[in-house]
């Protein structure tokens, strides 16, 4: 039963190129402390993953972290682009906003200014 499940997943996944975290072009970090989760961080994370799956983005990874001291703006998503020292922090995220960040920022390279709460260098 269990092995069969795994085989099913492998069949559907077909042949995927292994991607190590360090190789990713874009790393998205979602704050998943208690207050982040309460504010909807799981939906935001799920939307990011869903866009990666749908758009076939093999150079983007999503990681999670605990509280980031930005509780009043949660859910929070940080965008780290390889070789770019500026980290863009988005606040008050929703799954719709997360999908836009993928479309505009991650794919097109244009940060969504109205959702940005902080740029860290």
């Amino acid at each position: 039963m269990k092995l069969e499940d795994l085989r099913k997943i492998r069949e559907r996944a077909a042949k995927e190129i292994a991607l190590r975290q360090g190789d990713a072009r874009v790393r998205l970090v979602v704050g998943m402390g208690t207050s982040g989760i309460a504010a909807g961080a799981r939906d935001v994370l799920a939307a990011l993953l869903d866009e990666i799956a749908k758009r076939d983005l093999s150079d983007v990874v999503v990681t999670q972290t605990g509280e980031r001291g930005l509780a009043s703006s949660e859910p929070v998503v940080e965008v780290h682009v390889k070789d770019d020292p500026a980290v863009v922090v988005y606040g008050d995220m929703t799954s719709e906003k997360a999908r836009r960040v993928i479309a505009d920022h991650v794919v097109q390279g244009n940060p969504v200014r109205e959702f940005v709460i902080e740029v860290r260098r």
Binding site: D5, K8, D43, A46, Q64
Partner: protein
């Protein structure tokens, strides 16, 4: 605040991660005969001494940074006890922590299960190099761990698009969408 059981589970998993756990075992089971739903998260993180444990149970204690108020555990306890269930947390310094919460399934105030498939997917694909197992038996069944998954996938990232799609589809098929 945490309006569904899957979000409580996610919070427990986050606690385990913050405690430095390398291994996290999740169980979510339903027993029809006893009309019970039970959640359990066992981790091998740094654990807590008796004083810290007592503070966590009271609430407003957190190691997660000054903005956090550490309400996840007391909220879960309150929900479990209110729904005719039980709550327990046991921990040993240097060995890990086990949290269990049960609920009467037919209790009118039992929170919804939530989007269990999305929560399981989030937990699995952000596990990084941790070992995480999920056993879910509530109508649908999931019995997976990240080591098996990685081995089966031949080293492909759990976040590569094809794997994500497959896992998504698999989990939705097994546990349904919103519960």
């Amino acid at each position: 605040m945490l309006e569904s059981l899957d979000l409580h589970l996610l919070d427990l998993v986050q606690n385990a991660r913050e405690a430095g756990a390398r291994r996290i075992a999740i169980r979510w089971t339903c027993d029809e005969a006893s009309d019970e739903v039970a959640l359990e998260v066992v981790d091998d993180g740094r654990g807590m001494d008796a004083d810290t444990l007592a503070a966590v149970e009271r609430g407003f204690y957190s190691t997660k940074g000054q903005r956090s108020v550490g309400l996840g555990i007391p909220l879960l306890r309150q929900t479990a006890e209110h729904c005719d269930g039980r709550f327990s947390i046991s921990s040993r310094l240097g060995e890990g922590t086990t949290v269990r919460a049960s609920f009467r399934r037919s209790h009118i105030d039992l929170p919804p299960f939530g989007d269990v498939a999305a929560t399981f997917l989030s937990i699995l694909v952000t596990s990084e190099d941790r070992w995480v197992s999920i056993l879910y038996r509530c109508g649908g069944e999931v019995d997976l761990d990240t080591a098996e998954l990685r081995e089966t996938l031949g080293g492909a990232s759990l976040q590569s698009p094809g794997v994500l799609r497959a896992l998504q589809e698999f989990l939705v098929e097994r546990v349904g969408r919103e519960g």
